[in-house]
Amino acid sequence: MPNTLSIVVVEADRDRALQIIDSLRAAGDHDIRVISETTGLARQIHQHNPDVVLIDIENPSRDMLEELALASGPQDRAVAMFVDQSQEGLSAAAIEAGVSAYVVGGMQPERVTPVLEAAIARFRLFQRMRAELAETKRALEERKVIDRAKGMIMKARGVTEDEAYALLRKTAMDQNRRMADVAEALVTAAGLLS
């Protein structure tokens, strides 16, 4: 099939790699390989000789791909970062979503677009999941520390749970600080004094 592209995905996390593959498969019948080990990345990619390389923007090994732009031999195909000049701003969208694509020289932008769109959608999902996870973690941590601070106040002042909570909230409001921060300070101070 003439539309089949050979795609290399650089991703160390196996689950993420599988999810990316699923998304790309939905965008067309492509030949997809995953590289998980980044030692000698440029050399590995050279061996696969792909049309498109996809890599997470946060991956520090990304710089290794930049040297592929300088094809060193006559048989080598120069690979450069995909940049669209169209109105949709696909490159900017990719960067915001956290993925970058490298394509071989002379590749028609129309052929890469569906692949890149699928990758962008998947990386946006990753980003959302990461944000949600971080937010949930933070909320849990904060609840834990507020509960501990509340317990300390109840013990030290002999008040009820509701009164301890009210006192924490009032202090936070008076000092223009977040309740979690006030609780954190109390727990740290108590730790130092005990």
């Binding site: 990304r62 970062m81 915001e96």
Partner: protein
């Protein structure tokens, strides 16, 4: 003056100090600016963040905007350097195997003599020497190419330059992907500590005055946000001036060590700031003068001739037309914006925007806008002199 927030990207290196100090020590707020500093995972990502407007300005390898002007490795966006933020600051080191080999040959690791070190490095080799650098378009790569070429050891027959992110350099040495490396601090010291290797030379042993990092912006930003660009230059210029005071060293190391910035021990960071290095696993200490210069001798002035030297070297390396390359690079270092920002603030604005590179063996007096200023020694290790006007003349002679 209304307070404006600018977002600036940086890579966690000692030479990101001017941006960090500008924000932390209040030089930015003095200009009504708040700098939102964003740490980037790699040079390519930082370049793209800048190109696509996720940051307004970035701590950047001096050759990146030049390479972009030559159509090399760019994202289609013209980038300009509005000031130089540091001179020198790289180290060349070798992995354990090569270090042992050099010791067997009686090399003394003097950390000074580039000719001797270069010959020792390549003596008796049958395969090309593999050297890791952080980015293909970097002063690290440029210095290595220049150094080994001048010694008659050109790439790719004698040397292979490979891109390896500094954090992975120790692994690459262990996996024998590279034999040696050239990186910025603190990564040289960290790689030597982790790999049991040794430091061979400071970058300044190859060129005494190599423009290492610049403050890069999108060209259209520089031309439309003139007022902001000038305020940003002044804030970072004052930070550089503060950094040049030896009394600032201790605090600088503490600031940079913070989790949001380099997140590394102050002791490692201080090696670059003091210029005193542990060069071998058994603790031999060596000192390099002017190892990393943030300010002295008009260090922050973006000389057009610096951009032209970089362009000429890049053109030689990848086989582009040299006249065209030096011409395209001339406008990338924006001495015009820099002058406008600092006129009346510093007397150290040179009369010319271009100079001979490599001509000064000692501090030399040159004309400035307000009289004269002195420029520091800037020799190449092989004594050659780069005359930016010469490349054009040479070419014209060949054509006629």
């Amino acid at each position: 003056m209304r307070n404006t927030t600018l977002s600036l990207g940086f890579i966690p290196l000692v030479d990101a100090a001017p941006l960090i100090v500008a924000q932390e020590m209040g030089f930015a707020s003095q200009e009504g600016l708040t700098l939102d500093l964003k740490r980037a995972p790699s040079w390519s990502s930082l370049r793209d963040m800048l190109s696509f407007g996720q940051v307004d300005a970035a701590h950047m390898l001096a050759p990146v905007p030049v390479a972009a002007a030559l159509g090399l490795g760019n994202a289609g966006m013209a980038l300009d350097a509005i000031m130089v933020t540091s001179i020198n600051g790289n180290v060349i080191g070798v992995g354990k195997d090569l270090a042992d080999h050099l010791v067997d040959q009686g090399h003394d690791f003097d950390f000074t003599d580039a000719t001797k070190a270069g010959h020792a490095l390549t003596a008796g080799r049958t395969t090309p020497l593999k050297i890791g650098v952080p980015f293909p378009f970097s002063m690290h790569a440029q210095l290595l190419f220049y150094w080994l070429n001048a010694l008659g050891l050109p790439a790719p027959d004698h040397v292979e330059i490979k891109t390896v992110p500094p954090a992975l350099m120790a692994d690459a040495l262990a996996a024998k992907e590279v034999d040696a490396f050239c990186v910025g601090e603190p990564w040289g010291s960290i790689s030597v500590d982790q790999s049991q290797g040794s430091l061979l030379l400071p970058g300044s042993a190859i060129w005494q005055r190599a423009p290492e990092k610049v403050l890069a912006v999108r060209r259209n930003w520089a031309d439309t946000e003139t007022d902001l660009a000038q305020r940003l230059i002044r804030a970072i210029w004052r930070a550089c001036q503060w950094l040049a005071d030896p009394g600032s060293r201790l605090l600088t190391a503490e600031l940079l060590a913070r989790k949001a910035y380099l997140d590394r021990p102050t002791e490692i960071i201080d090696r670059a700031l003091s210029g005193t290095f542990t060069v071998t696993p058994n603790g031999v200490q060596r000192h390099a003068d002017e190892f990393l210069d943030f300010h002295t001798g008009a260090a922050n002035f973006p000389w057009r001739s610096q951009a032209q030297w970089i362009a000429m070297q890049l053109a030689l390396r990848v086989g582009l037309d040299q006249t065209h390359a030096t011409k395209a690079a001339g406008t990338v270092f924006r001495s015009d914006i820099y002058r406008a920002a600092l006129r009346g603030i510093t007397p150290d604005l040179p009369g010319a925007s271009s100079k001979l590179e490599g001509a000064n063996a000692a501090w030399t007096s040159v004309a400035s806008e307000s009289g004269s200023l002195t420029l520091p020694p800037d020799r190449f290790f092989d004594g050659s002199i780069f005359d930016p006007s010469e490349t054009t003349r040479l070419k014209n002679r060949q054509l006629s």
